[in-house]
Amino acid sequence: MSIDQNTAAKVAKLARIKVEDDALPALAQEFNNILGFIEQLNEVDVEGVEPMTSVTPMRLKRREDVVTDGGMAKTVMSNAPDAREGFFAVPKVVE
């Protein structure tokens, strides 16, 4: 399967990474190299094999569905690039 520039642009968009138009041909080529390497997986007979979900056979622990933490808005916001009045500030989302 070959990735063209349009597909590369679409993937960049999905990943929310800005890629300049003139960088797209090289990016598409890199994708093709890596995907070419990955294509080897098609040689493997995986008939009847379940996709692995957990490498160690264990049941995830459960706990009571109760609040165990909180009341630390200031701490949570302390690393924000733009925090105002207890909120994370972002460019206008809704007109």
Binding site: L35, L41, V49, E50, V55, V76, A80, P81, F88, P91
Partner: protein, 495 residues
Amino acid sequence: MTDLNKMTLADARNNLRAGEITSVELTEACLDAVDAADALNAFVHNTPELALEQAQAADARIAEGDAPSMCGLPLGIKDLFCTKGVPSQAASAILNGFKPEYESTVSQNLFDAGAVMLGKLNMDEFAMGSSNETSVYGDVVNPWRRENETTPLTPGGSSGGSASAVAADLCLAATGTDTGGSIRQPAAFAGITGIKPTYGRCSRWGIIAFASSLDQAGPMTKTVRDSAIMLEAMCGHDAKDSTSADIPVPNFEAMLTGDIRGKVIGIPKEYRMDGMPAEIENLWADGTAMLKDAGAEIRDITLPHTKYALPAYYVIAPAEASSNLARYDGVRYGHRATLEAGDGITEMYEKTRAEGFGPEVQRRVMIGTYVLSAGFYDAYYNRARRVRALIKKDFEDVFAAGVDAILTPATPSAAFGLGEMADADPVQMYLNDVFTVTVNLAGLPGIAIPAGLDKQGLPLGLQLIGKPWEEGDLLNTAYALENAAGYVAKPQKWW
């Protein structure tokens, strides 16, 4: 006493407990070594004040007769670990200025055991790399050089700062993390010991995530005994990581008897690669002979899906990374791009991530996005997870047939020159992890130990792979191999 920074954890611990030295003296010796080693670029955020404060507290504890296993021992901490109030940015520009409000479980466990933190160690950005050349802080330099050469060599990656710092005696030991070989490959390149425990042994809480189903923390040390001591302090169940195993952590050090009589060591034929340097081949044969001489039974084994481990890894790890790294959006922490008039939130995301992520991270996030996207999920991601199940089964079959541990080379070459791979295809760089990545996919413990030097005088490592949760037995086999190999070489100081 001179050269305190050159001590092993075990010797320093014994000397501290005997009152021969103090943690403050030990810590000052390491801080001086760190200050004199800027050329290695291993330490990137130094914390001398915190270190001395912790050292004083450790000395007080020892004086009171309360000296836990790591008490007073100065360590370097990989930048991937969140450390409270100390910059923790996974060597990425996107986490510029990030100071966690919390402490990772592993670093907290080490501090609870009395350890001293000298600072944060350089690494590949988000642990994505095998040469420590993708870091926002710049390349780490290996203290080792080829004989009669000054070419700067890579310490390997992603835990390159950890490997360089331990090999150069800047700290007694360091933390590392290993997603595809990031502890074992740099350990081999720098002539030190590093163990990746069974998936679930160390809590991942507070370790900046790369590929959550593969990531494990582990120690990088000067000896196998030191790895046993430090691993025990790092491990343990943690309610904050749902994949953390709730099983007892044995006293690993007490299991180091060096007696491996009757143990069955598997030699997998698939790890004999075309074009493998004769020196690696010979080292492997020598290691096999040493284990045999120590009383182990050597058995030829087959792990038929080995060839597919790297391609499976380069689907699964980028897929998980694309999901994990979605959190870096310029809203809650780290870098946010300067916006132009009229830019909306999508432009903010796209510009922030383009500026904040380096090329290798961008490449992997986008590959991950592609293999998870509609129409390709089954063909790539689900197929890779099926192959992963087969790779794990290869190991299960071998262990079920009575094999106790598997011996392989740690890396396909010795350390290479920084920049030497700059024009290579990314896939060429990925091949560095060909012997280590199977272990992550199968969730097994694996240890790399130095076993010899190549003809240019660079260290070469061997890897032992153990059964799940049998780190104690694995460390003991490694200890027997370490004793037999008698590796004592150190890099000549030039920095």
